[in-house]
């Protein structure tokens, strides 16, 4: 490296070193992720390259005049995510997109039933608890029909479960201010089984006293529990509870589980709907104007809802044990089943328990969401066979290779050996892109799709463009009569501005596209944006330093005819000032 010893190339060499350092750091990250994490050495592939199914769903509110806002969209995504998990679909990802859609990507080929289950409408409903028990069957004995949950004197069940959920154990004996409380064991449920086996349904009002009769007189009437239903309920083991094809009939009882699978329930018919909720907010309880550190969820009902809720709580307040509890069922899963501490007629309830502020917020969000029941309209469903996927990947790579070769060929013809700088820079850019995408695959779960591959290929052109802008600038300066070393610096100062401006415009386009684009073309915008940034990095830390070093070689600096920067060929000014008051005439020199 005799060149490297030239003190005038110290700056460029430093820049090159930092570039190498970046490459090495990224490489180390990727290899580290592979060795100690779940990373891999190739970018993660999208479904259209790997095979799989992608659904784009749009949440639709039952009231079509209201559009879905971001918070509701996030909530909807969580719901879909839960369903996906509940359906045992491995490695599926659920993301929101463009402030409007939810994209579900499922590797492999899920069944039509699984897909159906994922996009059914969501419902939040309130049902009175008829029976509750530990969600797991003890293998030695079948649990009794009344369940193992025992009501305490305060009406709060202590749920005996195999996996206790200490965070959600209820805080018994709440003292209340203005609004009475529903005190929950706050169990969240994940999977469901409704049991459409109930007998004749009677609409229920008033406060029943739970005297078993042939026809249920209220929603809490144990007459709902027919022997068949009882048998079904007894047999339920929440750990084996994988359902999706169930009918959720509001007029009939429902058997379901909580999401931590710790408790199973037999619930009465629906008495209050999610649409009866006007708001739900998590916060700290206000007592005598003071903020306490007790985390609660405040629930407000509409005037209609307040009436219904008041009727139910009046009835439940008089009941004991599990019958005192009022379950909140989201999507056929019990998210909370608080006990009733008072008859709440004002339409303002408070759910307290052993909440953390996060768990309270999560519950409040779910309740809030319940006020706006959503269904999901299927926008697109793409189901790519693995054969087609690998074929597309192969062809995409082929197209990229051809494109690269064409660009390399063109720049060699146009810029002679200077074109080699383009080639090396493009290779460096490719390496950096590969490492970045691989790393993003691990760190941000980025998946390279066919559209993404297109973005990368298109970016070959953008990257090469910035070299051309730079080279042409240098040529301009050489034509002005500068020596190559001076031309490289002067050209850089001007080209830099142009390159930054042009790349910024590109980046802007990519960001706008990324934010707004729908579905699969998002990958295109993403890779386009990433490669634009990489282009900037390459030009600054690689191409420019290389030029700085090459300008001091005899081949380029001396203006060899094949260097692509020969002053003669560029028709440079015939007379050059070479310092110390001397001038050189190109003709005389030749």
């Amino acid at each position: 490296m005799t060149v490297a010893l030239n003190p005038r190339t110290r700056g460029p060499r430093r820049a090159l070193l930092s570039f190498v350092a970046i490459i090495l750091a990224l490489g180390a990250l990727v290899i580290g992720a592979r060795t100690w994490g779940t990373g891999q050495l190739t970018p993660k592939l999208g479904l259209d390259l790997e095979g799989g199914t992608e659904m784009v769903l749009e949440p639709v509110l039952s009231d079509s005049s209201v559009t879905v806002n971001q918070g509701q969209l996030d909530q909807a995504r969580d719901i879909i995510q839960q369903r996906v998990n509940a359906n045992g679909v491995a490695e599926a990802t659920v993301t929101t997109q463009g402030g409007r859609n939810i994209v579900v990507s499922i590797p492999g080929q899920p069944t039509a039933e699984q897909l159906q289950a994922i996009r059914k409408p969501s419902q939040l409903r309130f049902r009175a608890v008829l029976e509750a028990a530990a969600g797991r069957l003890t293998p030695t004995s079948t649990p009794t029909a009344t369940g193992t949950a025992t009501g305490t004197s305060s009406g709060t069940p202590s749920v005996t479960t195999t996996t206790p959920a200490p965070a959600f154990t209820p805080a018994p004996g709440n003292t209340l201010t203005g609004s009475p409380a529903l005190v929950p064991p706050a169990l969240r449920a994940d999977t469901t089984t409704p049991a459409p086996t109930a007998t004749a349904s009677s609409t229920s009002t008033g406060s029943g006293t739970a005297t078993p009769t042939a026809t249920p007189t209220s929603a809490s009437d144990l007459a709902w529990v027919t022997p068949a239903l009882q048998a079904e309920y007894t047999a339920v083991d929440c750990t084996k509870f994988q359902t999706s094809e169930l009918v959720d009939d509001p007029a009939k009882p429902l058997i379901t589980c909580s999401d931590d699978l710790n408790e199973k329930y037999l619930l009465g018919p629906v008495e209050v709907d999610g649409t009866d909720i006007s708001s739900a907010v998590a916060g700290y309880r206000q007592q005598n104007g003071q903020t306490t550190n007790i985390v609660v969820v405040n629930l407000n009902f509409t005037s209609d809802g307040a009436k219904k809720f008041g009727a139910v709580t009046t009835r439940l307040y008089g009941l004991q044990g599990n019958l005192n509890r009022f379950a909140i069922v989201l999507d056929r899963k019990v998210i909370s089943a608080p006990t009733t501490n008072a008859a709440i007629l004002t339409g303002q309830a408070e759910i307290s328990g052993n909440f953390t502020i996060e768990s309270a917020r999560s519950l409040a969000k779910q309740l809030q969401f319940g006020a706006l029941p959503m269904s999901f309209s299927l926008q697109t469903e793409n189901d790519i066979s693995p054969t087609l996927g690998s074929e597309q990947l192969k062809l995409g790579l082929l197209a990229g290779l051809i494109g690269l070769l064409l660009v390399v060929g063109y720049s060699l013809v146009q810029y002679r050996l200077l074109g080699l700088v383009t080639v090396v820079s493009l290779v460096a850019a490719a390496l950096l892109t590969y490492l970045t995408l691989t790393w993003l695959g691990w760190a941000a779960n980025f998946r390279l799709t066919l559209a993404g591959v297109t973005g990368v290929i298109v970016s070959i052109g953008v990257t090469a463009d910035s070299f051309i802008v730079y080279f042409e600038r240098i040529r301009d300066e050489v034509r002005e009569g500068r020596t190559l070393a001076a031309a490289v610096e002067a050209g850089w100062a001007r080209a830099r501005r142009t390159i930054i401006a042009a790349d910024l415009v590109n980046l802007l386009a990519a960001v706008v596209l990324y934010i707004l684009a729908a579905s699969n073309v998002r990958g295109f915008a993403f890779t386009l944006g990433v490669t634009t940034l990489i282009d900037l990095l390459i030009v600054f830390l690689f191409t420019h330093p290389i030029m700085g070093i090459l300008a001091h070689t005899t081949f380029f600096g001396g203006g060899h005819p094949w260097s692509g920067l020969s002053p003669d060929r560029l028709g440079a000014k015939t007379t050059r000032y070479v310092g110390a008051g001397r001038f050189v005439d190109a003709g005389a020199k030749a």
Partner: protein, 378 residues
């Protein structure tokens, strides 16, 4: 290389294409193209893909493609789907489009797999709801507006004159209309992917325009400094000087896209890849044209009545007249080229030297420092 020589001549002004002066010609060409495009869009209409109406598309890999149309029809109707069935062959895979299959999706897949003698895992299906296209278009429109506003602001700030932003945006609109017109006339299918392609064109078209405008700004700043060249002449020189660069960047941008197009059309068939790259290909080509022939002349036209610009033009004319007089007065002097090698002092049209004659050394070199011969030679 010839193109390098061409570039040299364009740079020095030895050869010059009068982009600004003949703007009426370019405008008429553009107007004609725009009229054709509009006509195409209005009369011929756009060919929207199934994404906009909703439907199902199946793709059978490694299929035996003989007699594919009859097979596809039979299989689809056998699975209980009525209506139009379109099928085509790309490479060794068959593409079948039907009305939205909905619940019968699995049945169609199985039937097609059976008909073409492949395993069901080799059949890909995509189902598109009827509102998908509309929602994508709405998004695209939003994106378009957001992008235009942002870029307009960016350019106005970067170039410090809103007229450059306006000229750039007009060129952009020009590109969009012509691209969409080409789509209409050539009957290319418009899909959500090609809409995204259209949006990306915006970025590219502006990329080119930014490169040209950057040079225009630089040259015109020089012109305002030296007051020897009118704004139009300086802008024209800028376009000439960046012409080779524009050609090169456009070719280089188009080459990889061409590769995708060729591979995509011959092997993969219609889909995201082809739609995106086709839109990009057409758009980048049109964008290169507009940044040279539309954006810059328009910019000059927009600024022509600014006092500073008009003043500069007047001054430059006077300087030119003086120079012509001087040249006429001393015709026996050395040839103009040797006397005044500084090409930047020459007017673009190649009329001849302007300003007062300088010693030849005075006007060369990186900076015009030594106005006197070196001490040793004095």
């Amino acid at each position: 290389m010839n193109i390098a020589q061409f570039g040299n001549d364009l740079y020095t002004g030895k050869r010059s294409i009068d982009f600004i002066g003949r703007q009426k010609t370019w405008y008429s060409i553009s107007a004609l193209l725009l009229a054709l495009a509009t006509l195409g869009i209005v009369w011929h209409g756009l060919n929207f893909g199934i994404e906009f109406e909703g439907g199902s598309e199946y793709r059978i890999s490694n299929a035996v493609t003989t007699d594919y149309e009859a097979k596809a029809k039979a299989a689809v109707s056998g699975a209980g789907i009525d209506g139009l069935v379109e099928s085509s062959v790309v490479g060794d895979s068959v593409r079948v489009q039907t009305v939205a299959a909905g619940e019968k999706n699995e049945g169609v897949k199985t039937a097609l797999a059976k008909a073409f003698g492949v395993d069901v895992t080799k059949v890909s299906a995509s189902l598109i709801g009827p509102s998908w296209g509309a929602s994508v278009s709405a998004k695209a429109l939003q994106g378009l507006i957001a992008f235009l506003v942002l870029v307009g602001l960016f350019m106005a700030v970067y170039f410090r004159t809103w007229k450059m932003a306006v000229a750039g945006l007009v060129a952009l609109a020009h590109d969009m209309v012509i691209t969409v017109g080409i789509y209409a006339l050539a009957d290319f299918e418009i899909t959500p992917a090609s809409m995204i392609g259209f949006l990306t064109i915006l970025g590219y078209s502006l990329y080119d325009t930014v490169v040209v405008f950057d040079k225009v700004r630089e040259n015109t700043a020089d012109a305002f400094g030296s007051r020897r060249m009118s704004y139009a002449a300086a802008a024209n020189l800028a376009v000439n000087q960046t012409l080779v660069r524009s050609i090169n960047t456009t070719v280089v941008a188009l080459l990889p896209i061409l590769a995708i197009l060729v591979v995509g059309i011959s092997k993969i068939g219609p889909g995201t890849l082809v739609d995106l790259s086709l839109a990009l290909f057409v758009g980048i080509a049109v964008g290169a044209y507009s940044s040279i022939f539309v954006a810059t002349p328009l910019l000059v036209w927009l600024r022509r009545n600014e006092p500073a610009v008009a003043d500069l033009a007047k001054h430059a004319r006077r300087v030119e007249a003086t120079a012509a007089k001087t040249a006429a007065a001393a015709p026996a002097e050395a040839p103009v080229d040797q006397l005044l090698p500084n090409d930047e002092l020459r007017s673009v049209a190649g009329v001849g030297p302007v300003g007062r004659p300088l010693h030849k050394y005075a006007s060369t070199g990186p900076r015009n420092q030594p106005k006197r011969p070196p001490r040793s030679r004095r």
